[in-house]
Symmetry: C2
Subunit: 314 residues, 2 copies
Amino acid sequence: MMSNLLTSSRATLISAALTAVVASSSLAQTAPAAKDIAEAQPKPSYGEVIKASPAGDWRPIAAERTLYLDLASGGRVVIELHPEIAPNHVANILALAKEGWYDGSAIVRSHDNYVAQWGDATESKPVKTAKRKLAGEFTTPVGERFEFTRLPDADGYAPEVGFSHGFATGRDPKAGTAWLAHCYGTLGVGRGNTTDSGDGTSLYVVTGHAPRHLDRNITTVGRVVHGIQHLSALPRGTGNLGFYEKPSERVPIKSIRIAADVPKAEQLSIKVLRTDSATFTRAVEALRNRGGDWFKVPAGYIELCNVQVAVRVE
Amino acid sequence: MMSNLLTSSRATLISAALTAVVASSSLAQTAPAAKDIAEAQPKPSYGEVIKASPAGDWRPIAAERTLYLDLASGGRVVIELHPEIAPNHVANILALAKEGWYDGSAIVRSHDNYVAQWGDATESKPVKTAKRKLAGEFTTPVGERFEFTRLPDADGYAPEVGFSHGFATGRDPKAGTAWLAHCYGTLGVGRGNTTDSGDGTSLYVVTGHAPRHLDRNITTVGRVVHGIQHLSALPRGTGNLGFYEKPSERVPIKSIRIAADVPKAEQLSIKVLRTDSATFTRAVEALRNRGGDWFKVPAGYIELCNVQVAVRVE
């Protein structure tokens, strides 16, 4: 029977009834005991929460800070950059895209359960307008006006975690800094051993279990909002660190363009659920304590990188 | 410059010096502040710890509870089953392998950032010797003699987490139960809505960020110790839940055999680092607080599924 397959998933959950959900603080480190199962109430599933969301809880992603990574083979990866995190690196990546620097580059590394990474395999391509040296922006000073919806669930890698404009974010209130967490799909800037050696000519996307130990050690700038399978399902490199050993194994990149520079008719209409919305709070609770017929023990907790930020491609 | 690429990884770290490491308890939820950076001492890297390990800290995996999943296309995935977790399901999976039930089955689902799953796509294959109905073993009663090396780092999904015979494990000391955590590479038993609907004819491996909310909701039985890229890099299914839409997209499985049933000369010699060894404790600390030239801020924490349990294929 097909019903014998794992029928539950992150994408679709079935629940018994639509009831109001009050998001609860879940700092508890102890998951609920078996006796709590019977107390679990039917509640809306994640899918039902998303379906019931008002249009105002969604925002279009800004074409000026969206990248289209088009593989020569035809796949498109859509990346949104964060408006305030790592502003110098975001500006440099946009400059590199504008001057066409990424066009004809290649994915040079596919490291299982870690990252896909691209750049200029020949290491000789001249940079025209972008900067070649930038101070690392591993964390960024953020002021009072920084948009941040804190997740109440405890996290071992950061004093505070939550979401800013749809991006999984760490925050240190004492230091007054924030950074994008290394979750599945996060875009970061490759660097060497010195903190100023990353300029955006080498970029990577997390394609495995969140390597959160990289947080605050490297500059993070955005996340994949569409088409990540074109990176995550690539053959793994057999060289050290997952680099492709033969040039013929590299995956050619046709171009990386800023969405705003593409003719309007060719632009994708993508909306992201506002992470400062009531729908998002309900969606997180639906993931934290899953209802429906399939789940028997609600987790009572959600880890930052297990939170989905819903995306609609229209 | 190649050095401009992300040169650090889970697999290889470079560190300045080999010094003794004392594993510290890291229950702190607050990661170290920037000022702590200068205090970080050079320490052996994970790779150095593994390299320096005595032979006695490794154990060969037992052929009687190891599966070789051979794809028709030639790739081999090696899976180790846990000796005590879910004993009835482990016995049933071994019975299914012995009767050749999996031979000619197929991977039917590749769900990005979630699971690869296989079974009998025709849903008509008769089971000869194995059981068709088994009570769920979502958790298993464990006694005093259950091997468990507790990780001191706090976890939101379980009262206690650690490692048992090399497997990431959750434990509830009050209930006296344990279960394998859903980390990257964990093998689980697909089921429908009823708790007794999983029998081993549908199995899945986690190929994305750890879906820990599945813990205690489904029977887990083992983990992939070698060749996971043959599952994780498969094209993603475009159907609902990542199922392949067309039969031609399914990935044929030549056979799943118990290693002990394969001629000796064809058996792989695989060793796993003992998770109750001093080397393992040192290795975890090397991952929790990474030294070397590349890392600037040690995390001071490690999340269960970010711990690597080293495997050697000889």
